[in-house]
């Protein structure tokens, strides 16, 4: 187990470095620098600005310093567009919000998705099964940027039940719509995966044995069937995390929740390279970390898995 974790981490670190490398190569390949404007700066000013942000160093040195500062001081450097703001400020302001509704959307997606999938598998070919399959097909064509306007239309404009945007310190009625918009699509995937793996488990030999020895159905499902059926769901959590963090961009922009996505898109419009890069790298690191945890959990639950 220990050597597995070490080997898995040994893969995770180069992945992160490649991500940083890709970001840097993209930035160096950019025509013009971050300070190229329609009205060019005088050369002396330009040189000072480049020196201030360390952009006159050779590329490898720049990259090394960047990584060093992140690793040693958790410092993503200054924003290129706002002098009074660093990338760390942006992260500190936006990330708690993103992680709050991201966490709840995970809870909702897993809770609803797994119960729907299990219910559909137990009542195979009943109306409940068809309902679950119908929902999971329907949710495929309702990505978060379609869900968000529809929710707003129904719950804010027509029914007037929920506020149309903002965060308000994470008060529940401000959190509901972002969470639903974000969780729908991977809730559907979780339901579909749970249903098919549960069906497979319920048809296997050890469940038949459990039935034969007269265990009540409730106990069979909770004690015996659920754990093996959850393994494919567990391995789906990595992609689900990517979907969540990507979708948070739409949620932030649409509901003005003030999470990391809002800063990301604003910086994209302002060409604020350092903020975009900082967020990309941090999100990448989180994704890689999350995948690592999922893999370790997987190996811990199912000792047959080793790679």
């Amino acid at each position: 187990m220990f050597s597995f974790i070490v080997r898995r981490i040994a893969v995770a670190i180069p992945t992160l470095l490649i991500l940083i490398l890709i970001s840097f190569v993209l930035m160096f390949a950019a025509p013009g620098g971050p300070f190229t404007n329609e009205r060019p700066l005088p050369e002396a000013v330009m040189n000072n600005v480049m020196e201030r942000y360390g952009l006159d160093d050779p590329y490898p040195v720049q990259m090394f310093n960047y990584v060093k500062n992140i690793v040693l001081h958790f410092d993503f450097g200054p924003s290129f567009q706002y002098r009074d703001r660093t990338v760390n400020d942006v992260i500190a302001q936006g990330f708690p919000v993103t992680l709050t509704y991201g966490f709840w959307s995970f809870v909702v997606a897993i809770g609803v998705g797994v119960s729907l999938g299990v219910a559909a598998a137990i009542r195979h070919n009943s109306w409940l099964d068809y309902l679950a399959v119908g929902i999971s097909i329907g949710a495929q064509v309702l990505p978060n940027f379609v869900m968000a306007p529809i929710l707003l239309l129904v719950f804010t404009l027509w029914l007037g039940w929920l506020p149309g945007g903002g965060w308000n310190g994470g008060q529940w009625n401000y959190v509901i719509m972002p969470v639903i918009a974000l969780s729908t699509s991977y809730m559907a995937s979780i339901a579909r995966i749970t249903r098919s793996s549960m069906l497979e488990v319920l048809n296997s030999g050890f469940i038949r044995t459990a039935k034969a020895k007269g265990l009540p159905m409730r106990r069979i499902i909770w004690r015996h069937a659920l754990k093996p059926a959850m393994l494919p769901v567990l391995s789906y959590l990595g992609p689900a995390f990517v979907a969540m963090i990507t979708g948070s961009v739409v949620v932030d922009v649409y509901f003005s929740t003030g999470g990391i996505g809002q800063f990301f898109v604003n910086s994209a419009f302002n060409r604020d390279y350092s903020v975009i890069m900082g967020i990309t790298i941090l999100v990448g690191a989180l994704t890689i970390l999350f995948n690592l945890l999922v893999d370790i959990a997987y190996a811990w639950i199912d000792p047959k898995i080793r790679y």
Partner: protein, 309 residues
Amino acid sequence: MVLPDKATADGLVQAAHLAEVRGRSLWADARIRFFRNKAAVGALIVLTLVAIFAFFGGFIAQYERDFVDFALMGANQTQGVPSIETGHYFGTDSSGRDLYARTVQGTRISLLVGIVGAGVAVIVGTLYGAVAGYFGGRIDSIMMRTVDVLMSIPFMFVLILMLVIFGRSILMLFIGIGLISWLDMARIARGQTLTIKNKEFVEAAVATGVAPMMIILRHIVPNLLGIVIVYATLLVPGMIITESFISFLGLGVQEPNTSLGALISAGASQMQYGVIWQLLFPLFFFIITLFAFFFVGDGLRDALDPKDR
């Protein structure tokens, strides 16, 4: 030797003609299976209609997609209502532009992005996967590890970074989407290649001295085609969603061009003024296109990949 008399011989020939059954290829089998699937055929018809709408719908549009009717600007709530008489079949948007012409163009761009993305996935992914699978060993593990690494990067963020750095244009979007789309396909193609490369006909080709790349192109890739077509069809909606996602944020297709994502975004920002059609028309085309692709893909999977049932 006893020769059969003429009548018997004629009878035999006739019987042989009767018994002659036209052979059916695997493709013909698959076609029959596909056309038996009502949902898939229905979806294919819908898809054809959407494509006709996207590529020929512009001929009946009364206005250019970027023609701004200043009389209607800001008054679309009252005067830009969808109607046949004014020629604005789908109404107008807040700038007084004809929504019908814009929906036609948006659908076309979304379809093109989906098809180009899937096309890149088919060409690059299939070759990459086939090469990795065929050569095996260290080449395989290096190539597939690279795919694993690229897959664990949240690509939407890198794509937006690219769009910011190299400028927001359709071309950049095509390149960016093409760059990710082949990863899944490479995995699928590799898995299939591993089973194909041990078949006798590959062995025969090796024994007769065919060069490895030639074996991949002539013997492996044609046998991957079925599964590749299935997954390419299922990739298209993913590509359309990716493009719409970026255009929804305003980072994708730029004015005066538009795509379904950009139209949905514009419609969503206007809906509180009672111009619900501005959201509903693009949304309708978006949803039916995705639905149709999913069902066609499902039908193709049942038809071409019978073991997956």
